[in-house]
Structures are given as C-alpha cells and as structure tokens.
Symmetry: C2
Subunit: 169 residues, 2 copies
C-alpha cells in the first residue's frame, strides 16, 4: 500500500484542539530547525487555517485577522500565506482559491487532495502509485514532470453515508 494519508478527514470524535496544537508545535519546531521566523502573524494565520480544518480563503482569513489586529490588510495575509506555502506548512487548493494546513510539512511535496463538495472537508493523500502512473504516462509523451496539481472533488465518507449524492452539487 503506497498510500500515505497526510491529513485525514476530520472524523467525528477527533480532538480538534489537540490536532491544532500539534500542528502548531510541529510548525514551531520546524521553523526553529530551519532558522526561519514563525512570527505572531504567521503563527496566527496558520492557526486560523488549522482551526477550521477546511479550505480557508484569503479574505476570510483577513476578516478574522482584522478582528484582532486593526492594521491587517491584504498584503498582511498574502505575505503570511506565502511564507507558510514556502515552508510547506500549508497547501493551496487551486480549484477553490483556498488554503489548507499540511499534516507533513517536513518533506517538500505536493499533495493529492480529496475535497468534499458537501461539507468542504479536505483530506490530503500522498500516494506514490498515483504519482508514478502520472509521471509514467506523461513521460510516454516526452513530458518531464515538475509539480502535480491533483484535486479530487466528491463526497467524503461521512457525507456519502448520510446519503448525499454526487450529482447535486
């Protein structure tokens, strides 16, 4: 089984406070190791992203930031996001213009995302088979693969079990 579940769906009963604290602690350790600064703004943005455990839009983050920091403006948020992306602490979901926390920031990687169209939950996989079959097929066409953007829209286990259907977006 080559699947690594980097960030699972937020299942019922998971201790979300703990999950967020964990992510922040990991981020702090990693930044220290790398000699980069997880400043209060950057830390707060990362926390806001993890708190919701679903893709967060830049301007939603901005609104939240503004509630506690009068000076917050678009560049405030985008700079923090750029830093967090750079350090691998978050990923950008292209199909949503939104950002999610990364459960495994240590190694640089691109994620393979499963996005629930009903509840917006996101899980991140990192599956070597997926990566390989894409790289092989692209290679057959003479294409040299750089970064893969893979975003699957559908229904998460919980929403599926609740009888929500794919066709009704």
């Amino acid at each position: 089984m080559s699947t690594t579940v980097v960030t699972p769906f937020k299942h019922e009963g998971h201790d979300h406070d703990h999950c967020v604290d964990d992510a922040l602690a990991r981020a702090e350790r990693q930044c220290e190791r790398r000699g980069v600064r997880l400043t209060p703004i950057r830390r707060r943005v990362l926390e806001l992203i993890w708190r919701r455990h679903e893709p967060m839009k830049a301007y939603d983050l901005l609104d939240m930031l503004r509630a506690e920091r009068r000076s917050a403006a678009p560049p405030t948020v985008y700079r923090a996001l750029d830093f967090l992306l750079e350090e691998g602490l978050i990923h950008r979901i292209e199909s949503l213009n939104a950002y999610v926390g990364c459960g495994d920031p240590d190694r640089p990687h691109v994620g393979q995302f499963l996005i629930c169209r009903h509840c917006n939950a996101v899980a991140e996989m990192n599956d070597a088979d997926v990566h390989k079959v894409l790289a092989d097929k692209a290679g057959d066409l003479g294409f040299q693969v750089g970064t893969q953007t893979i975003e699957i829209n559908g229904l998460c286990p919980i929403c599926r079990d609740q009888g929500h259907a794919l066709n009704a977006v």
Copy 2:
C-alpha cells in the same frame, strides 16, 4: 495502453490553420446535433482560444474581442466561456485561471493536462489508468470521486530537448 492523447502538443510542422478549422468544424457539427447555438461571439472566442494553442486568459480574450467588437465587456467573454465549458468545447486550467480548447468535446470528460512551464504549451491526456488509480486510492479512504482536476506542470518534449531545466521556472 490506456492513454488517449486528446490534444497533443503543437509539434513543429503541424498545420495549425487546419487544426483550428477542424476544431471549429467539429464544434459546429456538435452544436447543431445538440440543438444549441454557436453564435458569432461564442464561435469567435473558441477560435481565439484554438488559434494560440496555449492557455488563454479571460481578459486577454476580452482585449482581442474588443478590438473587433466595441461592446465587448467582461460578461461577454465569461458568458461565451461558460457556454463553451458547458458544451465541453473547452476546459479551464485551474492552476492558471486560463482556458484551452478540447480536442474531443463529444463525450463529457475531465482532462489531464500537461503544461509546459517554459513555452506554455498544453497537451490533454485522458488516461483510464490514471483515472482508475486515483479513484481506487480515494475509494480506499471511503471517498466517492466526482470530478478530478489534474494539472501537471513541467517541460514539454521540445523545451526539454532544448535543454531547459525544471528548476528554473
């Protein structure tokens, strides 16, 4: 081999006029069959997209439209794009906010795109193995797959052969 190359890279020596005319003729036939109207605006937008054979941005299309139709405004372009997307005549590249022609509009499908970071050329694959491995892996996690967004950034055969490197974006 489960790979279908829906739209190949524009290789040297390919007769681009013919390629564009073909795409337009196919589009016309398909719209007629379906009883929908490929109006002059819609046809022109489709033609502009095919002409360049690379991802086209909405506002670039708008600028071109405006050159020949004074009344063109953002809704003019976006309505045409919506129609063309709906009919499967073009695809949207999420990671670029751009649009490309589809070489096989007949059957509804989502494409798997190879995008050259050097020359911006795009090829569309539609590979059943890729689709299946993703669906299987997602299924293992209890996720029901709806639509797949797959966009691979890298180097097309020509740019690769010319010695361009991946790391230099």
